[in-house]
């Protein structure tokens, strides 16, 4: 390998290993996400110019931090003046000493959690928190994020810029909240990570590379938070919930790429090690004695897995968990899923009564699973023409071609 190629591969490895830590460290010191990203990207550019000539440094992270700090000082001198600039320059000067004593990346203080809390701050628009985290901590570009969240790259780029401006201008702190407000603020972080995971999870056909990666990125973030906050049961609950869903990924499609519902999945295709990890996390969470949404979601996944493995036919545990979840969230989607569990416990007519009442909630009108659930329940009480119509609506709202084929198959199988 020539020197330029070696420089590039070293820079790539550092970016993969330490990007989030470096940005978080710089952003926390500069109190500015955009400036930290700019300084670091300039440092990477400088590395690609310098390392081929002078060789790769023994500690590339420290080299990058030192250069990024210098670029940061230039940036502050160019763009700011007055007292804030003086404070910034002071902080950056102190940062230099910290950087020069860093011997390896393990010694860089991990400020990623503080960065996540800044990104999910209540003052930041809820819709942009997940994209902001993915960009700030993982370095994903606006184009990749936009495509995962079904937004135009231009609009996503602008919203990310605005969010970073807000963090700087509003003076949002890069810190882990104090004990008394931690739980409330943590919800924002966990919700954003779950939103990123859900975007990756609902990828059409599981064939889109960008979207698949988002699932892995969200799992990484959830693992990071659970690792850094091991005494927060909801952080453990979220990771458990995501691992459960991920463990069944391969079973969700058959050899033809068609959608396979949970009740028909091949249990042997589930990732047993991942399920064990999820169960262990859930156990640790429950020992901490504070129940919450994500622990309940994970408990539900756990019940589904246990039911399929044991052949249990009594749905009482599922209905009980849904009751608790509904009381906590009031979400119409939870109410819909609860109705499906009730169909297993009390029959399809009892479930249809709930589903009919839910129709009054306008939020489910465009929700494909609502119509698919309704169709399946109608078919079970032999209301075939109504079931056919409900399937048609579900098919029209489906974004995933495999799900669309699945629904068309169910519709075609209805007796005429």
């Amino acid at each position: 390998m020539d020197r330029a190629a070696r420089a590039r591969s070293t820079a790539d490895a550092v970016a993969r290993r330490s990007y989030g830590k470096l940005v978080a460290f710089l952003a926390a010191a500069m109190r500015d996400v955009a400036a930290a990203e700019d300084a670091l990207s300039e440092a990477f550019a400088a590395a690609l110019a310098d390392w081929p000539l002078n060789g790769c440094p023994a500690n590339p992270e420290a080299w990058l931090l030192t250069v990024a700090r210098r670029k940061g000082i230039d940036g502050v001198r160019r763009h700011r003046s007055g007292e804030t600039a003086a404070v910034q320059l002071q902080i950056l000067a102190e940062l230099d000493e910290a950087a020069s004593t860093v011997m390896d990346d393990a010694a860089i203080p991990d400020r990623r959690l503080a960065l996540l809390f800044a990104c999910a701050h209540p003052a930041v628009d809820a819709g942009i928190r997940a994209p902001l985290m993915l960009q700030a901590v993982l370095g994903l570009d606006a184009k990749t994020i936009a495509s995962a969240f079904l937004a135009s790259p231009d609009a996503m780029g602008k919203r990310l810029v605005r969010a970073k401006q807000k963090i700087r201008q509003a003076g949002i702190r890069f810190a882990i909240p104090a004990r008394d407000e931690l739980a409330g603020r943590l919800d924002g972080v966990l919700d954003a990570i779950y939103a990123a995971f859900a975007e990756g999870w609902s990828d059409p056909g599981g064939t889109d590379v960008i979207r698949r990666d988002l699932t892995a990125e969200a799992l990484f973030l959830a693992g990071l938070v659970a690792g850094l906050l091991p005494r927060e049961p909801e952080a453990l609950g979220l990771l458990a919930c995501m691992l459960h869903a991920e463990a069944r990924r391969r079973a969700r499609r058959n050899a033809d790429g068609d959608y396979v519902p949970l009740a028909e999945q091949d249990v042997a295709l589930w990732d047993a090690a991942m399920i064990d990890e999820a169960e262990a996390l859930l156990l640790r969470a429950s020992a901490l004695g504070r129940i919450g949404r994500y622990q309940l979601e994970a408990a539900l996944q756990s019940a589904h897995v246990e039911r399929r493995r044991s052949g249990r036919t009594d749905w009482t545990p599922e209905v009980q968990i849904y009751d608790a979840l509904l009381a906590l969230s009031g979400s119409p989607v939870v109410a819909l899923n609860r109705a499906l569990a009730i169909a297993e416990l009390q029959g399809p007519r009892a479930a249809l009564e709930i589903v009919d009442a839910l129709a009054a909630d306008g939020r489910l009108v465009d929700y494909q699973p609502y119509w698919a659930a309704r169709a399946a329940l109608l078919a079970r009480i032999h209301a075939f023409p109504e079931a056919r119509d409900a399937y048609a609506v579900a098919i029209g709202l489906a974004g995933d071609p495999a799900v669309r084929r699945f629904l068309q198959g169910r519709q075609a199988a209805l007796p005429r």
Partner: protein, 115 residues
């Protein structure tokens, strides 16, 4: 705002499908069109005949040039369109992603120039 969803697709794929697959494909579009109608956002839509039926016209120096074939000769051709009225681009993209054409082809979304 009004948006035009232009559906581009590989035309040869259609002829390679079995009649059952074709029927399923048409039904999927029918269901999607109905969903747009039910949501009250559909202004118009049409499927086009294949690009082999296309003719292009260009007038230069007062003389009209008429050519056989599509304007751009590429594997993926304009196959149909939906004209929808939704609040913003994000809403238009959400509907675009649900269109069957988004999974077997590519859809270009353009806001209509409002006069």
């Amino acid at each position: 705002m009004q948006y035009l969803l232009m559906l581009y697709a590989d035309e040869s794929r259609w002829s390679q499908m079995t009649p059952a697959e074709q029927e399923q494909g048409v039904a999927a579009y029918g269901a999607y069109t109905q969903a747009l109608k039910t949501a009250g956002v559909l202004l118009g839509s049409n499927r086009l005949q294949g690009s082999a039926t296309a003719t292009t016209v260009h007038v230069a120096d007062g003389k009209s040039q008429v050519l056989d074939g599509p304007y751009v000769d590429s594997k993926e051709q304009l196959a149909g369109y939906y004209l929808i009225d939704v609040p913003d681009l994000d809403a238009a993209l959400a509907w675009t992603a649900r269109c069957p054409g988004a999974s077997h082809g590519t859809i270009e979304v353009r806001p209509v120039w409002s006069m």
